[in-house]
């Protein structure tokens, strides 16, 4: 019935295995460093020095968990991508190392460590060595401000919350471009040089629609703070920014009261709360937010050099582009950073458009299900783990589950695009960026501005 169903099953098995293999160590590290060690230290009636140590441990938790997370996540995403592509193109994919190829990328990582590190003749050795590091460091920084949003502002990660969150992420996301030009320029190789220049041209062209779309979302939310943006979208998919950033909030409340009173007439009225003008404005907002998501995903694909925008490393024209001369560990760092960037981009889309750690079901829907009893039962059964050992924070746990589902679905979407679309030519790429996306993003911005005035003027 479903073609290659066993392959899909194997892919699901790989995903399940690796998500456990990623997040159990991350959770263990953050619990041990952020909760367990400080708890032991503070249990000893500590002096001020030891209390400071406990504080430092708590402060270091986010960065340590990110450092554990990034290599494991990159290993998973490479395998995920290769197996999913194999599924789309009806072939086997890596299936020899470990059961069903589970450990393929772990073996790859070991192989890259054993490779010889070559610096080509005539290369600028200092810049050549610095380029992968400059490429990699911003991806760690870029992940930090989103941590608070995707863990539902857990106290351990609240320290990573910046008032200028999304601005900070965008700023750090534009640094890797410098690294690509550095790599291209210092390699003493024509392919690398052209690759680096293409990366620069492409990244600056697509940065405009990317940033404008995110700024428009910030305008709908009224803040740059990712935690606040995520919190505003709480309460089911009707409140998410993908549906106009709360344009349907009235509808949501109307359905809740209608269920309570068994009177469905107000739901129809909720479509026209303040007359035709606000109805049109809500429709425009919903339509625009879909356009904004499209603009964001397109710009993000170009920014992180993924197919169909992988011109900087176009292997059929430029051998491997800016990383032609890289081998061994330096190449591995480039590789690591690329997949981390894909994860960050999906995280931003999740927080900005899909409600962050919010569960997609509205409260009135959850009330229909017998969840409260189950939750209370689980809570009392696990109260030792939750209250005494502080192993899990239930809010953060559910937020993390939803974020994982949403983010890896978006990654799957990126892989699907890679499996479907051919590569652009450079002139098509620049035309599409400057003549289509830039005007479209300006128009969408203005539409949202005026639609919001119509909605706001009625005091919504």
């Amino acid at each position: 019935m479903i073609p290659n169903a066993p392959e899909i099953g194997k892919l699901a098995f790989i995903i399940a295995f690796w998500i456990c293999a990623i997040f159990l160590p991350v959770w263990a590290v953050s619990w041990a460093v952020g909760v367990f060690l400080p708890m032991i230290i503070e249990g000893q009636n500590p002096g001020p020095e030891l209390a400071l140590v406990a504080d430092i441990l708590r402060t270091a938790t986010p960065i340590l968990s990110v450092l554990v997370f990034i290599p494991l996540n990159a290993m998973f995403m490479v395998l995920y991508e290769r197996r999913a592509l194999a599924l789309f193109t009806v072939r086997m994919g890596p299936n020899r190392v470990g059961p069903d190829g589970l450990l393929q990328t772990a073996a790859d990582a070991v192989k890259l460590l054993l490779k010889e590190d070559i610096t080509p003749r005539g290369a600028d050795a200092v810049i050549f060595t610095l380029a992968p590091i400059v490429f990699f460091a911003p991806s760690i920084i870029g992940i930090l401000p989103i941590l608070a949003a995707i863990t539902n502002n857990h106290p351990l990660f609240a320290i990573t919350n910046l008032p200028t969150g999304i601005f900070f992420v965008l700023a750090s996301a534009s640094i890797p471009l410098v690294a690509l030009v550095m790599a291209g320029w210092s390699s003493n190789n024509k392919y690398s040089l052209v690759g680096g220049l293409r990366a620069a041209a492409q990244a600056i062209s697509y940065e405009i629609p990317l940033v404008l779309s995110l700024v428009t979302v910030c305008l709908m939310a009224g803040t740059l703070d990712v935690v606040k943006i995520a919190q505003q979208q709480d309460g089911g998919f009707l409140n998410w920014n993908i549906l106009g950033g709360g344009a349907l909030r009235g509808l949501d409340a109307a359905i809740a009261t209608a269920l309570k009173n068994q009177d469905w007439a107000p739901v129809i009225q909720a479509f026209y709360p303040y007359g035709a003008a606000s109805f049109v404005a809500a429709i425009v907002l919903i339509f625009c937010s879909h356009i904004l998501l499209g603009l964001y995903l397109t710009g993000a694909c170009a920014e992180i050099n993924r197919i169909p925008f992988d011109l900087p490393e176009a292997e059929s024209e430029l051998v491997s582009g800016y990383n032609t001369e890289y081998s061994g560990m330096k190449f591995a760092i480039f590789f690591l950073a690329e997949f981390t960037n894909l994860f960050i981009v999906s995280c931003i889309a999740t927080v900005m458009f899909f409600g962050g750690g919010d569960n997609p079901f509205p409260q009135w829907f959850l009330d229909q299900l017998p969840l409260a009893g189950i939750q209370a039962g689980l809570g009392s059964a696990l109260s030792f783990l939750i209250n005494d050992m502080r192993l899990v924070d239930p809010d953060t746990f559910w937020a993390a589950i939803w974020v994982i589902i949403k983010v890896y679905s978006l990654v799957f979407f990126a892989i699907l695009i890679r499996g479907t679309l051919p590569r652009f030519r450079i002139d098509q790429l620049m035309d599409f960026g400057w003549k289509r996306l830039v005007p479209l993003s300006l128009i969408a911005f203005l539409l949202v501005v005026f639609a919001r005035v119509l909605v706001v003027s009625h005091g919504y």
């Binding site: 960065i63 010889e116 003749r121 760690i140 990573t160 190789n189 041209a201 700024v215 300006l442 005035v453």
Partner: protein, 134 residues
């Protein structure tokens, strides 16, 4: 409203940037030197050019168009810097300037601002600055 704590600055600047970067350098050097081997020779260190000897200098001349796009980008990037504070203040504008028409003040000003910018883009478009092939 917010104050950036010292610990936040520390974690972002040092822990976020210096530590992983230095860690990666150290990891790359140590692991590569311990595990990998290092036997360079003249042929191996030659820049790659389809297996042939490289023909001339690698730093070839490249298109002037890259600069055109960079100039246009600067224009739009500065514009976005102007838009961001405006976008965050749209909801508070009516309370600063009273009256019903005050609602439309901010958006109309932004419309004028973006129109000027769009005229600039249209001019560059017409002049052929956006054409990759002439």
């Amino acid at each position: 409203m917010y104050e950036l704590q010292l610990t936040q600055i520390v974690i972002f600047v040092f822990a976020g940037f210096a530590l992983p970067a230095l860690g990666m350098i150290l990891l790359a050097w140590i692991l590569q030197n311990v595990l990998g081997y290092h036997q360079p020779n003249a042929m191996k260190n030659q820049p790659y050019e389809c297996g042939m000897k490289p023909l001339q200098e690698a730093l070839i001349q490249f298109e002037i168009r890259y600069y055109l796009y960079a100039l246009l980008f600067i224009l739009f990037d500065i514009e976005i810097i102007f838009i961001i504070p405006w976008a965050l203040a749209t909801d508070t504008l009516p309370s600063i300037v009273s009256g019903d028409e005050a609602l439309w003040l901010g958006p109309v000003e932004m419309l004028i601002f973006l129109t000027i910018l769009a005229v600039g883009l249209a001019y560059a478009w017409k002049k052929g600055a956006l054409e990759w092939e002439n």
